[in-house]
Amino acid sequence: MIASTGPYFQDAISTLISLLTLFSFLAVTVLSLVWLERKALGRLQLRLGPTRTGPFGLLQPIADAVKLVLKEDIVPNEAEKVIFWVAPIIVVISAFMLWVTIPLTPSIVVQNLENMGLFYVGAVGVIGILGLVLAGWGSANKYGVIGGLRAAAQLISYEIPLIMVFVSIAIVTQTFNLVEIVNLQSPVPFILVLPLGFVLFFVSGLAEVGRTPFDIYFAESEIVGGPFVEYSGAHWAVFFLSEYINTFAIATLTVLLFLGGWSGPFLPSIVWLLIKIYAVILLIFWIRGTLPRLRIDQLMAFAWKVMVPLSFYLVVCCSIYVFYGLPWWALTVMSIFGLGVVGVIIYQYITAPARKVAEVRERLRLLQMSQEE
């Protein structure tokens, strides 16, 4: 008995240490993301972004965090106190739990779940929705309720293509182990093998973390922050934290699953991984600086009419690939065919108004010409 508790005790200590390391790593990452987002958006919008706090405004996120923590934490009178308190905790715990199994290199990982890494990521990622719905309901605010319900509808819909992409990757690689999946990408990263999977994953990832153009459940200009509308101070900061952790997680998963993870020449593997992650994150910020927001019905239609059928198509493609033992580029061809189909669909349904506009312009021009005559 005594002999067997020894290693367990050591195990527990080392897990605790790695969890604390993970926590501090994520906290620093969130601070860097806040700074990067403000700076990148500022440059996109011909502004400077933060400049006053420290060199290049580097201390701005710390100033923000101090401000948020020092602010009064208001709980509305009508709110369900327990739910109101618990909701942010659920959201942030699910965001942290996701990171337990995500490897940054083969050696830097809290606990690489050998047989179910990908499965665990898909399962834990859904818990956060519960927190958002509870936050909206518990704050006894109509905007909050609408936001919470929007969040439920949106996140559950986009969870399906996300999980289907996981499934197709598992079919191709025959493993759920994230380290193994990255190692299998050493000659060809999966973005070349499954371009369709990459697009599906990135788009549903954006929707999962509520980034523009899918920031519908806290749409500032319509429902004024949705589930977060009544939160202030430290509670709001917790939501903020989990939002950025989730964004970072989606970027990391994109890199691990499709962009070859930490593999790359010359530089150490962790540097390669961070470079790739930040490139994906800058892409997300760029999209935020460019696009307007979709409407909830358009969003749902896009999920169920485009994303879900395509993700099923992807699973079928991957099954055919494995069953017949085709060369890897066969999957690329099938993927690109799928992307072509979705392109046609988008052209038909999303840009139909644009073509109508061109038509209108032509009619107007003819009208003006006839008036001049």
């Binding site: 200009s221 460019t290 696009l291 307007p292 644009a354 506009v357 209108v360 003006q368």
Partner: protein, 372 residues
């Protein structure tokens, strides 16, 4: 079974939008009745910014009222000053000098561009795009800096006087305006190209908030909201005031009367305004801009007058009654924003909650003018 049906019945929800809401463009309140995300009914509430400008005018001398007009449509100050000055000038039966008129037109058209630029930014914000708003403020700021060097103020200018201008423009006025033109053209393109033909923006605005030409006329819409529905009506063309008959410009017209057409009309109008400014600055005559009245009190003879002009938001009318004293007996303003806003109930029927802010944004109201 009966119990089940009763339990499953849903009731409408009342959603109070405003007066403190980021997208009601000021202190406007909408009482929405919604079923899920669909709007069943809307009850607009105005009056949060009522300052009694019309009544206040009855206690002020004619010169002093200009400053009240500055504060009605606070995004188009020069246009508002112009229509009031024209009303008093017609009451006095006097004509300002040609140079005065030209400078007034140049400033008004610049102000129209500034106002429409702000509109493009805010419709972007309403649709969820934050960058156009910041781009648009760059161009607007340039125009306001120009205004500041001319009138001394960035917004509440109080620069037009009855029968003239407060002071002569700076010596390098022509050069300043000529220098700013290409920059403003670039700013306009930069701002609207991010938005106008964006697929998501199109899907958010095309066929949303449709008002037919007949309905638009019935509701008394004017300005871009009316022209978006396909009616070619612009006071500058139909009843030219000031010196607008001297210039060659087109009136852009939409077709479908939806949010996107109203947007498109405004974008095109900015380019037409630039055309007008170009012609006016080339033809700018020499002369005196000082008012022949000087600082004397004005006592128009008894009578009444109605003058209308084209503001960035539509047709503004001023009805002025004089009883021969130094203060107007009655002053009534027909504010374009107020009349345009009256169609909100029609436009929001059976639309989505998310559309309500876009539709309201496409009407481009200014609450200072709605409530006066």
């Amino acid at each position: 079974m009966m119990q089940d049906q009763q339990d499953n019945q849903t009731i409408d929800m009342m959603l109070n939008m405003g007066p403190q809401h980021p997208s009601t463009h000021g202190v406007f309140r909408m009482e929405l009745r919604i079923d899920g995300e669909k709007i069943i009914d809307v009850k607009p509430h105005i009056g949060y910014l009522h300052r009694g400008s019309e009544k206040l005018s009855e206690g002020e001398q004619y010169h002093q009222i200009i400053t009240l007009f500055d504060r009605m449509d606070y995004l188009a100050n020069f246009n508002n000053e112009l229509v009031y000055c024209m009303a008093v000038e017609r009451l006095l039966d006097m004509e300002p000098s040609k140079r005065t008129e030209y400078i007034r037109v140049i400033l008004c058209e610049l102000n129209r561009i500034a106002s429409h630029l702000l509109y493009v930014g805010t419709i972007g914000l309403d649709a969820g795009a934050m960058t156009p708003a910041l781009f648009s403020f760059i161009g607007r700021d340039r125009i306001q800096t120009l205004f500041e060097s001319i009138s001394g103020a960035r917004m509440m200018h109080n620069y037009f006087k009855i029968g003239g201008l407060k002071q002569e423009v700076p010596d390098d006025f022509v050069r300043m305006v000529k220098d700013i033109m290409p920059v403003i053209r670039r700013d306009i393109d930069q701002t609207e190209k991010l938005l106008t033909f964006n697929e998501i923006f199109l899907s958010r605005t095309k066929d949303i908030g449709v008002i037919t030409a007949e309905q638009a006329i019935d509701y008394g819409l004017t300005g871009p909201c009316l022209r978006g529905s396909g009616i070619n009506y612009d006071v500058r063309k139909s009843e030219p005031y000031s010196v607008y008959q001297d210039f060659d410009f087109d009136v852009p017209v939409g077709l479908d009367g939806d949010c996107w057409d109203r947007h498109w009309v405004r974008v095109k109008e900015m380019h037409e305004s630039l055309r007008i400014i170009e012609q006016a600055i080339d033809k700018l005559p020499d002369g005196d801009v000082a008012s022949p009245l000087g600082r004397r009190l004005i006592r128009p003879s008894e009578g009444e007058v109605y003058v209308k002009a084209e503001n960035p938001r539509g047709e503004i009318g001023v009805y002025l009654v004089s009883d021969g004293t130094d203060k107007p007996y009655r002053l009534k303003v027909r504010p374009p924003s107020f009349c345009n806003l009256s169609a909100i109930q029609l436009l929001l029927q059976n639309s989505w909650v998310a559309d309500s802010v876009v539709i309201l944004g496409s009407l481009d109201i200014v609450l200072g003018e709605v409530d006066r």
